[in-house]
């Protein structure tokens, strides 16, 4: 028996995980794909009615709310990634130097990303509050114009981006820092011999060598940013007036708010394709940049 297991280790070891993947992932995705071709309100009495691609046609062709949510998803992800990469790079360079208390500081920077997003959302909700929130008070004390933050359609999504940047910039910084620390010292010595300024060294030596690390970090982060749910749902539920409704939120609202399971499923299939497409595109761009 044990010899048989050893001979077939390749199959035996992953078997439980594979069964889990088939039952809990592969089958549900196929089921969602099937539901996306039907009209169904989750009722046990009226079964799902096959309507072909109608849900897709409705979403892609007629649904303004869908296209707005696509735009918001990319707006949110793009803005958050630019902010996180730039600030993360600055923070990483600053942390790549010895000073007393550095390890403690690095540890504290971990906290925003491990803290429970819903709880974090509640704290920011209080800070964003236009009249009693600390942020407006802070702006006022600096004689800067105040904002309505989440209460206004114009600023709500950008406010949520701010929370995402707060949460995830430290992760960017720590990944970039790990890349900085693992760099060989020869190119830096060569640059010094050549009399390069600190800025030249950073621009022509450090940054090119960091590119693979940053590229990978951006891909990982964008997968999660596109799917951001907890922060948005707990703070705005997609409002005010749909101003923060990203694809994930719209899918949730269609499915578990209006119980339009068919439409929700077709949206989720499109959403899945978009995330997959972004990952493939970014991976392709990263490889192109390396060669």
């Amino acid at each position: 028996m044990s010899r048989w297991i050893e001979k077939n280790l390749k199959w035996v070891f992953p078997a439980p995980a594979v069964i889990f993947i088939v039952v809990m992932m592969a089958f549900p995705i196929l089921y969602t794909a099937w539901i996306s071709l039907t009209e169904w309100s989750m009722s046990a009495v009226t079964p799902a009615k096959f309507i072909g691609l109608e849900n897709y046609i409705n979403l892609l062709g007629k649904d303004h709310r869908f296209w707005m949510s696509v735009w918001r998803t990319f707006y949110f992800t793009g803005l958050a990634l630019v902010g996180e990469t730039l600030i993360g790079l600055v923070l990483a360079v600053m942390l790549n130097r010895d000073f007393p208390g550095k390890n403690l500081l690095k540890t504290l920077f971990l906290l925003p990303m491990v803290a429970t997003p819903v709880a974090i959302g509640m704290v920011w909700l209080l800070m964003f509050e236009p009249t009693i929130g600390y942020l407006n008070h802070f702006l006022k004390s600096l004689h800067l114009p105040q904002s309505l933050w989440l209460a206004s359609e114009g600023s709500a999504l950008a406010s949520l981006v701010l929370v995402d940047i707060w949460q995830w910039t430290p992760m960017m910084a720590l990944i970039i820092l790990a890349g900085l620390v693992s760099m060989p010292s020869d190119p830096f010595e060569a640059a010094e011999v050549d009399g390069a300024s600190a800025w030249q060294t950073f621009w022509h030596v450090t940054l090119p060598m960091l590119r693979p690390t940053i590229g990978m970090a951006v891909i990982l982060r964008s997968i999660d940013a596109l799917k951001t749910f907890d922060i948005i749902y707990s703070m705005t539920q997609g409002g005010p007036n749909y101003a923060t409704e990203t694809l994930n939120l719209y899918g949730y609202n269609l499915g578990f708010g209006y119980f339009q399971m068919g439409a929700a499923s077709s949206l989720l299939m499109i959403f899945f394709a978009i995330v997959m497409g972004v990952v493939i595109f970014m991976n392709w761009a990263r490889k192109g940049a390396l060669s």
Partner: protein, 275 residues
């Protein structure tokens, strides 16, 4: 690696100021959460804020008396531990096989699990669990949370198992033991750091999970993130209670993170940096 150059003193000042600003910006929400949790509603509603006030524990008392918070904590804990242990049992052998027997397609499938939006699974799960009368039961929630924890454990462990020298396993096999025995007795004991990293992160992800719990939990299995969110539905927001509840839910994760920071850094940066 870091060329030491003479730095202008003004730059040094700028550097320190910059670090302090970063520190304040990233720590402020935590400080605000803790401070507000000890204030009365009227103190919270006062702007400019009072920095000196008599702390009240009323909010914390209210949270535990008004809702069954102890039960929600226990639920969150049981589900997180269950989802982590199950992820290890399924994920460790799978990661070992992927790392040592070159199964790229399985590795890719597990990566896809990270990419698929979670709600895609929720509609079928909700239906199936409803039919099996499993909504609002621990097994349903643990299974759902495993979707997050299991791929993560595999993701962290593959490079670990790849790094184990072949000689070590071969030596054990020369001594006459099977590979699965070598896996249990040789490979797992030296993989401690990887297993700890994977477990801590899996626990944190499960503890923090909101979406799956919101749909699949009910009166008996409500977890902390769902309970906190329910606070909002009252007509006037009880900010003090909300902040106290937020402290209660984040404190365990924050303490865990502070105690195990070196593992967490490894877990969060896994896959992005080679080595």
């Amino acid at each position: 690696m870091n060329p030491r150059k003479k730095v202008h003193p003004a730059l040094n000042v700028l550097y320190v100021v910059g670090l302090v600003l970063f520190f304040v910006a990233f720590m402020f929400p935590f400080a605000w959460m803790i401070i507000s949790s000890f204030k009365t509603q009227s103190e919270i509603l006062t702007m400019p804020p009072k920095w000196i006030f008599t702390p009240t524990f009323k909010n914390y008392v209210e949270v535990f008396e008004g809702q069954d918070f102890l039960m929600y904590m226990l639920n969150s804990f049981v589900i997180a531990v269950g989802a982590t242990l199950a992820a290890l049992v399924l994920g460790l052998p799978a990661a070992y096989a992927i790392a040592r027997r070159r199964l790229p397609s399985l590795g890719f499938t597990i990566l896809v699990a990270r990419i698929v939006p979670g709600i895609t699974f929720l509609i079928p799960w909700f239906m199936i669990f409803s039919r099996l009368k499993m909504v609002d039961t621990m097994p349903a929630l643990i299974l759902a949370h495993m979707l997050v924890t299991m791929p993560f454990v595999v993701w962290v462990m593959i490079p670990f198992f790849e790094g184990i020298p072949n000689d070590l396993i071969d030596a054990a096999r020369v001594d006459g033991c099977t590979e699965q025995y070598a896996f249990l007795r040789v490979v797992l004991p030296i993989s401690g750091p990887g297993i700890i990293t994977g477990s801590i992160m899996a626990f944190v992800f499960s503890w923090n999970n909101f979406m799956f719990s919101m749909i699949l939990s009910g009166v008996h299995t409500k977890t902390l993130p769902v309970a906190i969110f329910n606070f909002l539905s009252y007509s006037e927001v009880n900010w003090g209670g909300l902040m106290a509840a937020s402290v209660i839910i984040t404190l365990p994760v924050l303490v865990l993170a502070l105690m195990t920071q070196k593992y967490i850094v490894r877990g969060l940066t896994a896959g992005a940096v080679k080595g």
